[in-house]
Symmetry: none
Subunit: 406 residues, 2 copies
């Protein structure tokens, strides 16, 4: 993997366009009946043509044997070593509901819980209250308009069931704070405890907020208390424009993927697209304004997690049918891959390497592949590599990197 | 990549011979008409036989996506991580003209320039004077026999057009000196400025030399001034004999490659060979005196940079025709590869991985390859790897490395 300083030192201007088309959870396992994976079984004449014209490989998002979550998987695709750069749980939860996290924010995941008359926890999930009830309680807390010192703002948003998110925004906040969840019942929630001197002010602000918010819901039932976990400061990742010299746009339907993209400095494009065809129509509208386009397709992963082989295959076929519209724009580099594997047989993310197709009409070294699939990728010309090398490869094929050394 | 300390700790004596045959810029791209690269299109029965008997792979000289210069590419082939070990520009320029740089040397690239009556630069390249004029001026400076303190010697050599090289040789010299080129006209050349305390004496010596050399050419025109760039100390690389226990010889026609080889401790063999056949005849003469032979063929790269597919292919065929002579010597390990790719379609170095053939009759694990080519290498038994792993592989196949651990 090349480091960011090296990449920056080699950047040269170009007018080229790069498209990174991510089919979430793309990789699969062959089924018994015909020994084909979802990708191999799919009827996808466009991808197969691109495979013949481009070259294939397979990548590990984190490391061999490591099953990647969506956050690390996307960081790796964007060139950030996920073992070095981390998006804290609270931030991931906030971006997951579309909250526009800024560099001044510390986020925490919250649970409503049930307390007894002594203030001890009886149920850490408040009887798993509904999302509607959660939303009502969050609204009630927001109505109370809790004020904190230091010009600090607080945002509270419902997530799902008993879960919500708290975002504190201000200067010099820090997220090194231990969770207030004691992980057992019969004891009261813990105070927010700073884990280093820099976090003491932030911990004090959270404790004040907890006190006031708890007072607001004291007479509710069963959700008459709250606990906070996963405190995390916005990670302050180096930004796409600074590292790669790219004006980058994210076209994702799910908020979390727009959020992760925005954390690396991509513009999150607001749109009404409901499928990949419409996403590509959005892409066409902004084609001139950007150099790099991240298009995220969620449903390969969703159908994989459903355990529905045919439905995952159908999503791949739907993406394939939308490709001609994308190719009309004449991208210089098109990469089609996933952020991890989600074999429908396993109904979950997996550690298997992820197939990748690199198409670059001017510079790809055709590798003799005849179609896009896991086994073709394992034998592809790009070999097996860390996902963090995808961005340097994309920049090279976009002729955006000068020679290293004389 | 294995580190040098590990390799050193495992060295065991052997009588085996290793040949590293580098076809500069070997890797290519398939052309449209028959979908073959230069290497794939070449008629090369000997290499194809070696591919059947040996095994193939492909390597990245620096990192995926990074286009390597010749300096870093060769360092990597010799086992030195080019992101860690660097040959400064001045040193590369000096070795490029065959100047025998030693560990006591600091080298700088020079430009003759044109100054006006106030000493301000009018033309940073002195009207691009001819190499002959440059040679005459360098001779005039050398005739002046400029003396410096501290027992320091100075060597000045013409390079090409308005360019020359200055080498200062002495004890405790340092190359951390900023260039004297102000990068614009209308201002005088800058003084040589030390960038750390260790370089102050060296900077003072260079300033004294600049003053005296400038006086020598003051009345010339248009080359009546000079500027220095790329100050660099001989890199002090660990040497082949110490790391690998190998007596190594370099048989290269171009001075730069002899120079880089000498920086890693190879003996640069003086010879009159004008082609690879004659290089191998030279190799045969010194066969008993050395353990490792670096044979460098420049013209694959040159013809690639010319954009001449057929001519590059012809160079590969010429190398193939010379192989029987090499094989008569019965090397224990023969590696045929490049220092980077130079596809004739791109007319330049490129980032594409470099094909590699490893032949070792006693120990190669045949991988089923039937010929030597980029696609065969991408599917080869050695996989895709960093170029710095080539030397450990060569030593292993030469039975020069003991077992690690019990």
């Amino acid at each position: 993997m090349a480091d960011f300083a090296l990449i920056q030192s080699l950047l040269q201007p170009a007018e080229t366009k790069i498209v990174l088309l991510v089919l979430d959870g793309l990789g699969g396992l062959p089924r018994a009946e015909d020994d084909k994976t979802e990708l191999e079984a799919a009827h996808k004449p466009n991808m197969d043509r691109l495979a013949r014209e481009g070259c294939l490989g397979q990548h590990y998002p984190v490391a061999p044997g490591i099953t990647s979550g969506s956050g690390p998987g996307h960081l790796a695709l964007f060139g950030y070593d996920p073992l070095r750069y981390e998006i804290g749980r609270g931030v991931l939860e906030a971006v997951g509901i579309g909250f526009p996290v800024t560099e001044r924010d510390v986020c925490a995941r919250g649970n409503f819980c049930t307390l007894d008359s002594h203030g001890n926890i009886v149920d850490r999930r408040a009887g798993r209250i509904s999302t509607e009830e959660c939303t009502r309680l969050v609204h009630k807390i927001n109505q109370a308009n809790i004020q904190l010192d230091n010009g600090v703002e607080v945002f509270v948003e419902p997530v799902q069931d008993y879960r919500f998110v708290v975002v504190m925004r201000g200067d010099n906040l820090s997220g090194e704070i231990a969770e207030t969840d004691p992980q057992r019942t019969g004891v009261p929630p813990l105070p927010a405890l700073a884990q280093n001197p820099e976090s003491q002010i932030t911990a004090r602000l959270f404790n004040r907020w907890i006190e006031k918010a708890s007072a607001v819901i004291r007479d509710e039932y069963p959700a008459n208390g709250l606990i906070l976990r996963g405190f995390a400061k916005e990670p302050g990742l180096p930004k796409f424009r600074a590292i790669y010299g790219l004006r980058a746009a994210a076209i994702a339907i799910y908020p979390m993927y727009r959020g992760v993209a925005s954390l690396v400095g991509m513009d999150r494009i607001e749109h009404q697209a409901r499928n990949v065809q419409e996403q590509i129509e959005v892409l066409a509208q902004i084609w001139r304004q950007y150099d790099f386009f991240f298009v995220h397709v969620k449903y390969t992963d969703s159908r994989g997690e459903d355990g529905n082989f045919e439905a995952k295959q159908a999503v791949i076929e739907e993406v394939d049918a939308a490709l001609p519209l994308l190719l009309e724009l004449k991208p210089d580099v098109l990469i089609i891959t996933g952020d991890h594997s989600t074999p429908s047989q396993l109904r979950s993310h997996s550690w298997h390497p992820v197939p990748l197709l690199l198409w670059a009409p001017a510079t790809a070294r055709r590798d003799g592949s005849t179609h896009f699939g896991e086994r073709a990728c394992a034998r592809g010309g790009l070999g097996t590599f860390a996902a963090t090398t995808i961005m340097p490869l994309a920049l090279a094929h976009a002729q955006r990197l000068a020679k290293f050394g004389a």
